[in-house]
């Protein structure tokens, strides 16, 4: 009974803490989250509150992975940029994962942006 009570309290603790991993904080992205663009972006840039090393950045559209290259040997920086291939109109989901240079903790997140159909003419 006591053990169950303690376990329940620990679960409550996890709920209190919220569902997201949270150490290095993402300050902004380019393109911005939920942006609707008339021109396809050439790159994705993530800005954090501290120096990080980019571990994973994947871009997908309609379940199709867009090939991007992540340099895992790059030095830690508060801003990381990944070059994108030529993108066609559609909605793209970006999933990223970084390691904090200071505390070694992993942080991850997702956001999406849309390239409007009109962009095809650009």
């Amino acid at each position: 009974m006591i053990k169950r009570g303690f376990t329940a309290m620990a679960v409550v603790g996890m709920i209190l803490a919220g569902p997201a991993f949270g150490h290095a904080k993402l300050r902004s992205t380019v393109p911005a989250a939920d942006a609707q663009l008339i021109e396809a972006p050439k790159s994705v840039t993530l800005t954090f509150n501290e120096n990080v090393r980019l571990a994973v950045l994947s871009v997908a559209a309609g379940g199709r992975q867009i090939p991007v290259t992540v340099d895992r040997s790059a030095p830690a920086a508060s801003q990381v940029t990944v070059t994108l291939p030529a993108l066609t109109p559609g909605t793209y989901q970006v999933r990223w994962s970084v390691l904090s240079a200071d505390d070694g903790h992993a942080t991850q997140g997702t956001f999406s942006f849309t390239i409007m159909a009109a962009a095809a003419s650009h």
Partner: protein
């Protein structure tokens, strides 16, 4: 695996890592101050306990590194991705694990002696404080003071939590006066160690929270508040053991032995909860002062 499943696996591995490391270190400290009061069969059990805890710590540390790599990739295959594992290792986890491995190796070697030599105690201290080589305290600037505070706090936690299993082993014997002697030896040192542990934690908490109002405002603070509630329970049990049970043990009261064993087991469960909440807040919540 979903992000929450990765988080749960990471918290589990970290909790086991804390329990194994602090358990091994604390048991070695226990032999240092109470080794002369225990029997050879108890010594053999405590040696096995130290070796088991050290093996658990090593396995949990390795598991935490591969789970971190997997959680970053979002796929189980990421756990075996060499470049991701290298990144995690280079980000501080590797250095902490190396120091822990050296410390635990020294403690394991010290178990060959009847009483742990100084280098065995040094190994236990190295292992216990290895967690300060990575984590939130490393993000504060300047980092020297908070890292030293965390190191002192970890030594205190190892002393306290790591003594519980050896105390339970001694209490199994049922000899009330001998149990009282061991409990008194522990209490004599614990009063100062626990006071030091709290004195080290308070300024560290203030530095990480950036103000005590964050205890209820932020998710990190709410986790800390839950941890403090468990610690209050531990302190109450420790005071009960010292002020009520130890005098009864000294008087040869056999019922007090049973009460002490129940109390120690409750302390062990509370201790595991403290470690689990610590693992949670260091895995999924960031300190407000670093926002």
């Amino acid at each position: 695996m979903s992000p929450n499943q990765w988080a749960a696996a990471l918290i589990g591995a970290k909790t086991l890592g804390y329990a194994g490391t602090l358990g091994a270190a604390g048991a070695v400290f226990f032999l240092g101050y109470a080794g002369s009061l225990i029997t050879s069969s108890e010594l053999a059990r405590i040696r096995r306990l130290v070796l088991t805890c050290a093996a658990l710590s090593a396995a949990a540390g390795a598991a935490h590194i591969v789970l971190t790599a997997g959680s970053m990739s979002g796929e189980t295959a990421g756990m075996w991705d060499g470049s991701l594992i290298r990144m995690v290792w280079q980000a501080g986890a590797g250095r902490a694990l190396e120091i822990r491995a050296i410390g635990l190796s020294l403690t394991a070697l010290a178990m060959l002696m009847h009483r742990p030599p100084r280098w065995g105690l040094l190994g236990a201290a190295m292992a216990a404080t290895s967690f300060a080589w990575t984590g939130h305290a490393q993000s504060l600037s300047p980092r020297v003071f908070p890292v030293l505070l965390l190191g002192a706090h970890l030594l205190g936690v190892a002393f306290w939590m790591g003594a519980l299993a050896p105390l339970d082993l001694v209490a199994r014997d049922g000899n009330a006066s001998r149990i009282a002697a061991v409990a008194e030896r522990f209490s004599a040192v614990a009063v100062f160690v626990v006071a030091g542990l709290i004195l080290a934690a308070a300024p560290l908490l203030w530095l990480l929270l950036g103000g005590f109002a964050e205890l209820w405002r932020s998710s990190y603070g709410r986790c800390i508040a839950l941890k403090l509630a468990f610690v209050a329970g531990l302190l109450s049990l420790a005071a009960f053991n010292k002020l009520r049970l130890t005098p009864r043990l000294r008087a040869g009261d056999a019922d007090a032995v049973r009460s002490l064993r129940t109390s120690i087991r409750l302390e062990m469960w509370l201790g595991i909860m403290v470690l689990a909440v610590t693992a949670t807040l260091t895995t999924i919540a960031g300190p407000p002062a670093l926002d």
